[in-house]
Subunit: 344 residues, 4 copies
């Protein structure tokens, strides 16, 4: 059972709840969040009477039975879609957003060029990796802090919020200084220490599905962030590992309707990594939107052939423009909104 404290509860009320949990033989699990404070009461399934007992305690907002393995992410707890708002647009509840930019920040020039044209073609957010998780220790690992500064400059110039990856708990503070959204990559999708640190940062988190993660496990990873009181999580399907090798990963497009039948959180599609090849990115992006996705995160590069990573899958500017045009028509046909970015 999960006990949600009221906003503005008093510390002594919280301590009384914890003592009461221990008194009835449960183990308390405290999560003090920026927006919410939760107390998990872990033990055998509670009786309705017991839940009623806790609901009546001072300072308690709600008591939720833990029937599903994920709690705060569930439609039981919040039966309407979460809508996240950014200066440039919204995602969730019928609003579709696009984050775009290069795989990695390679130079000031490359990043600013990309930022300018993705803004011109209607993207709402700039993506780009400053710290790159690479399978090989000998591969290009990103520009690091220098990359963060370039992203910050691109933001100042274009007004686009920044989403960039964070690789370890100790990096969270540094990255959060420059980024508007913290990205957690597929390889870290069950790096629980990192999920908790991101949860505590208070920044929105864009969480990619691990490449062999079930959708249930995906929501439980999101729950690690939520349970720290940070309710702003975007779930991203980016392809899973299967026997099929024509594509880099197999886009599990059904993840969109399945997740939406379980959770209120926005669900996005990354069409670039599953495609692995430029030619197949647009069809996958459109498939994701047709399945109901609330957003896209797409790789595009001013000169993809010269990219230091993911060269084969980053779109040229014209291809990105084509994607945005088709996406707008498709989203309109489905009575949803892919608005132009609001920019000062």
């Amino acid at each position: 059972m999960l006990i949600v404290m009221k906003r503005g509860y008093m510390e002594e009320e919280l301590q009384a709840v914890i003592r009461e949990i221990e008194k009835v033989g449960y183990r308390p699990h405290l999560s003090r969040g920026v927006e919410t404070t939760l107390v998990g009461a872990i033990g055998r399934g509670p009786t309705p009477e017991l839940m009623e007992h806790f609901r009546a305690l001072p300072g308690v907002a709600e008591v939720i039975p833990i029937s599903k393995p994920w709690k705060l992410a569930s439609l039981e707890v919040q039966p309407f879609p979460t809508v996240l708002e950014f200066p440039t647009g919204k995602t969730g509840g019928g609003h579709v957003m696009v984050a775009a930019g290069p795989c990695g920040v390679e130079s000031r020039d490359q990043t600013l060029k990309a930022a300018r044209y993705v803004k011109a073609h209607g993207a709402h957010m700039l993506r780009g990796g400053a710290f790159k998780p690479r399978t090989s220790p000998y591969a290009f690992q990103g520009l690091g802090v220098e990359g963060l500064k370039i992203l910050a400059e691109a933001k100042r110039e274009t007004g686009l919020p920044i989403v960039t990856e964070v690789l370890s708990p100790e990096q969270v503070e540094l990255v959060a200084e420059h980024a508007d959204v913290l990205q957690i990559g597929a390889r870290n999708a069950q790096n629980f220490a990192l999920l908790q640190a991101a949860g505590e940062s208070g920044k929105p988190v864009l969480l990619k599905r691990g490449m062999s993660m079930t959708l249930e496990e995906f929501l439980m990873s999101a729950e690690y962030v939520l349970s720290r009181g940070n309710m702003r999580v975007i779930l991203v399907e980016r392809g899973i590992r299967t026997f099929e090798k024509a594509t880099r990963f197999t886009l599990d497009v059904a993840a969109v309707p399945v997740l939406k039948s379980w959770t209120h959180l926005p669900v996005w599609i990354d069409p670039s990594h599953p495609a692995g090849k430029r030619d197949w990115v647009i069809p996958l992006a459109l498939a994701g939107l047709a399945a109901g996705a609330d957003g896209l995160i797409v790789e595009t590069h001013p000169e993809p052939e010269k990219a230091l990573s993911d060269a084969a899958q980053q779109l040229h500017e014209e291809e990105f423009a084509e994607l945005m045009d088709k996406a707008r028509r498709l989203v309109a046909a489905l009575d949803k909104t892919l608005a132009a970015p609001v920019l000062g």
Copy 2:
């Protein structure tokens, strides 16, 4: 190397080609088809000179180097999309078709009801299984010949062509008498004797991808049909086996753009089997169309809750109507055609 004979070649020309193949140390592989006669010349990769030599023989239309494991299916052999025409509509080259109906033919009443409403909502073909391949020998195996007769009656009444499954080579003749399109199911996708028999029937073949078949292997199975001179094959992506169990299978929506970059054959989506659950069928169908599919094959039943097989995934009539409405809007947004069926 594959030697394609001219239409109206003379038998003596063919025999001369075969003798020549043997003379240069290759093994001849003759496929006499309804539309095309092919002679494979199997051996080590041929020199350009050798190919030129065969190209010059009387009765020879073309000589194709076997660089890819599939030949007749490739865009090299035919660089424009195959368009299949049925009395009710077309598929391929920008034309989208829908085949719909119950999983299994269970009764005259059930099948006729379904046929009437799928026609009314705009489907171009009636699907329904008379012979059902079932994992368990103790499960309902279909009505058999009786089922074929019911389908034929539904065709007479509605004008919709029929697609139904054939399970073994010896059934091909019987099923071909009643059906307009022979369906070969996922479990038989590498039943080579069946593929050849279907190829020889001269009927269009709707071939489903095996559930752990690579896309390359899929085209090679299609090649078994094509190599018998039957060029009317529809490829259907119907979901693959992965670790994810929220859905029955994982729809590999990328199969659509990948196959279309390799082959001229029409590519369809079956959204019902991967979904496994009614709620997720429409999003998957739309995803398939957005990715560029030339058609859909969908399960719908007048009373799905009473269905003898696949009860959870068959659409109710209203849901099918909703699917058709959304599909039309989406296809139009992408500048393709989902025309109403042409009916007498």
Copy 3:
């Protein structure tokens, strides 16, 4: 519920059982086998009273509740291991057998050479494909009937029984004339028409697991053979499709203990196809035996480098000898028997 008739039941008793099934609203499913006659009574789960009612009818040996999806294969029906006996040895119940030989029968000389040395090193059965199922229609498809005759000659000379693949229902009679064991390959593991035809042949069947088949589905395919009254089925794990590409398939070695906890049928390992490479065949074979397999089916060729199929994975004679030596030591260490073949 499954009604097993007594040996020597009278036809009128059987008919009475069937009438009774229909009377209580179930659908009868009759399987007259060589050894057993079964009547499935298909409907909603039966009450204990109803089962008792049928148990009391004349001619009825047993009534089995259909709790599991497979029936005759289950340890419920037969709680002790099936032991299959061949002139050269036994498999099951602690007896380990080895079938070995080339992937395909390519010539008289190649096959006889292989037969002689596999016998000399202790194999109990000769394997070799006369009809080869090939992914591509243009690949070598085997010598056909000529291959069967070569196998028969090898049997006459060495005394080794023959196991060879059958590809379609209409081939069953022909192949059964020459073979001692009918092999059904992975691509046909859900070719239900073929399974039934093999069941009716009365010959032992060596059934390979499909490459994306669950173990439950595997037993249900075996059930298609068993339900035709043919209880002599050997189950072969030969690797499944996964994302890992270092090996050709992923040997699911756990299939051995899992199947043995569910069924009385012998379970074998094919180490050649999952390895895909000669170097890894012996470790996989030993792993299978250590996990409890009742037999091996291994590819070996007098000159593997010249083989027309599977060249990379067929063992040289010396490697096969090494495998047999290590297998004998390992089987002995586990208190099981890998006896030398009994030969006249």
Copy 4:
């Protein structure tokens, strides 16, 4: 190209190498390790002349071309097996070791009991989780520091070295104080910050394969540890994600011979997690040893039914004793050594 510095090189020699790398247009990547100092020279593939040039510089021990994506792990760099020595025994090069103990450290009593009996039955190392990575944030997360202290006490009493999991870079120092071997779990197998921190600790690292990691990627993760100068890494195959759900994961037993054909590092098997069920642990353990594994890491608990995690798969004491007995016989039959632990 990878430049390996001699032991006892001078700092100025190193700096000269780095300057030379930059001078010829490559990017230097310095890894100062406890045992080795490496300088990667990253750029386009070097010419033999260039490699010779660097080989001639003062302080340089060797220059290795980077033909494979992993370097220090490869048999090219070290063509003989790494043997790791612990006070109680050895692993690698024909020496087999067993680490055993409970999934989680739950209490002093439970852990000491387990330690005593695993020692008595011949294990060489005690395993037990103090920090538990759990899919759900609401599940038991381990006793933490308290758990480490209990493990240390068990070591003092039994003399068994300790292997326990570390979850984040900042935990490494704390865990390394109490543990003899740092375990990195499957979910962190591509947590590169953690791999590097473990590499820098100087402690042996037991690295589990990620559940959808290719064997190539696995070696590249090991390379993150090795490239920090820590050559003591044990690779553990623990099952991968596939469609098969009878077992918790699919043990990829072929990983053993494949890895051993690529790397000099010891390869172990974890039979507990793939089995997911007690009954199948022994067959999987024996399969792993028969395939050539250098060790086992096995879960066993004095009262598995009461375990707070993995209750179904932990062995009872008698089962663990049976496993050790069978393992000894099997290892002896294969001419390898599973020695009794050396204890004071």
